[in-house]
Amino acid sequence: MVKRRRFRRIGIFEVCNALLMLAVCFITLYPMWFVFINSFNAPEQALLGTVNWFPKEFSLASYSVVFNDKTLMNGFYITTMRTVIGTAVHVLFTAVVAYGLSKSHLIGRKLYLKIALITMLFSGGLIPTFILMTKLGLYDNFLVFIIPAMYTFFNMVIFMSFYRTIPESLEESAKVDGASDYGVLFRIVLPNSMAVIATISLFSAVYHWNDYYQGVLYIRSQDILPMQTMLYKIIAENSMSAIQQQAMAQFGARLPGNSIKFASMMVATLPILLFYPFIQRYLVKGVMIGAIKG
């Protein structure tokens, strides 16, 4: 590309456009800022109404309620376990299936691919899936987060198209040295696929971390309820755990519940916000690969 940038004067359009972009940044960041400041607001202050710009009186009271809440912390633990295990299992399983399917000499490949493709066009949907989970004993079982999320067609296609970019000579030389298919996959192919593994892991991790709906559908026991499902219940159904009710009784009003809500929201989002600057380029890369394939 030839560099050809003459000096251009900054016109009204440039100024308006820059302002528009700043406005976009503002309305995108403000919701999280809002949660952030309100979570630090003193519960007594929250009585006077929610804060818009800065905490009126800085306080960690809401956080101490959240971190002392055994139920919520258990939810945090379940979400973490689910994210770690779910992501590892998803990436490993999808990567292995995709490797087998990417080999053109695989017997039955056409049939296998057809079976995989049809799952894109039709699906049983909510009720039959629900019945299946019940029949498989996955209802109210931690594994309901892991097993049904082991594989997606989309990520398999991303893996397959990435494997195609790895030079075949690399695999062949390993084969000549006597490596098995598993040997080639784990010692040659996967170490050379770190970029795509990172991308898919991140998508999977974000899904597991953010999902609340599986918990609403399939989980009844409090001790395996993920944090997001608890948050759903606290926010949308206005239910409160025992310790929160205690805290509310202590501060004696409806609104302090708000700053506790915001503190729990902050705790549930913090990992995403902390990692976001480092992981966002992988996420974009992922959607690009997907877009080119699609």
Binding site: V24, G124, G125, I127, P128, Y151, Y212, G294
Partner: protein, 306 residues
């Protein structure tokens, strides 16, 4: 023939390692995708989850007749189409506009920063984002404060308790959350345009808007077409995580989309067969819509998915 067959078996056993990689995947698909598809036939039965499926009596089209005469079903169709149409007509151009405008920013650093910030909300869970929205729309919330400060309303409105606002709440909150993310594909498509085209146009005296229209828009037309096909074919769907978070008993009249109707009938009221009948029809219509949208786009613009 026999010779050939043993050859195939020999080959198959020789590649048992590859087969053992793929077959678990196929088994997974058969269990988690194909069994639910097969179970769609409970739409024609009076299925009870406590009994084995084949002991349930066949009732033909009874459930189909039932939901076709259910006002609540038609209400859910209206809500789904309403929310989808708003999203499609008013929402679809927004990421394109954002991508075009971002493309006009010349300072690379500023451009990249804006883009990175713009898709942050996509990664915030709906529980959190919905929670913020519920707070903003409620008593003493940001929206009420803003509207009163601007003098647009003289008393507080509980926006989320009034059904008439619900469609707009879903539209605005979705736009707020997803614009940056949806724009990524357009931004990438714009980045792939040959800069020579712009230079030639500039030499020919085309102004900014003409270049935007004749070069940028024309170049990303295939991308727009494909995303439009997907959006149209998804018109019977709704953002379930969003609606489930924002709905309540007061706004249910306008909030119950087809997905939510299926959920409420099937899992809350326990009418499995009835809900599956609705699902069954919805899958077929959605597939038909996909083919129709694809065909229309192929005829009109020459661009299609398949």
């Amino acid at each position: 023939m026999f010779q050939h067959k043993t050859g195939a078996i020999k080959l198959f056993t020789r590649q048992w390692q590859l087969q053992s990689m793929v077959i678990p995947g196929i088994v997974w698909m058969l269990i988690f995708c194909y069994i639910p598809m097969f179970w769609l036939i409970i739409a024609f039965m009076d299925y009870s989850i406590a009994k084995p499926m084949l002991q349930s009596p066949f009732v033909g089209l009874k459930h189909f007749e039932d939901f076709m005469t259910d006002d609540r079903f038609w209400r859910s169709i209206r809500n789904t189409l309403g929310m989808s149409s708003i999203k499609l007509i008013l929402g679809f151009p927004i990421p394109i506009f954002f991508a075009l405008m971002l493309n006009e920013i010349r300072n690379i650093r500023f451009k990249r920063t804006v883009q990175t910030i713009s898709y942050l909300p996509h990664f915030i869970a709906w529980t959190i984002f919905g929670g913020i929205m519920l707070n903003w729309l409620g008593e003493g919330g940001v929206i009420n404060q803003l509207m009163m400060a601007l003098g647009l309303q003289d008393r507080e409105i509980l926006f989320n308790s009034e059904p008439k606002y619900f469609w707009w709440i879903t539209y605005f909150s979705d736009t707020l959350k997803e614009t940056g993310w949806s724009a990524i594909i357009y931004i990438a498509a714009i980045a792939g345009i040959d800069p020579g085209l712009y230079e030639a146009a500039e030499l020919d005296g085309a102004n900014r808007w003409q270049r935007m229209w004749h070069i940028t828009i024309q170049s990303i037309r295939p991308t727009i077409a494909i995303l439009f096909i997907l959006a149209v074919s998804g018109i019977l769907g709704s953002n379930f995580e969003q609606i489930f978070m924002l709905k309540n008993n007061m706004n249910l009249r306008m909030a119950e989309s087809l997905d939510l109707y299926i959920y409420n009938m099937g899992l809350v009221s326990g009418r499995h067969s009835f809900s599956t009948a609705v699902l069954f029809v919805r899958s077929i219509v959605a597939l038909g819509l996909l083919f129709l949208a694809n065909y229309t786009s192929k005829k009109l613009t020459g661009d299609s998915i398949f």
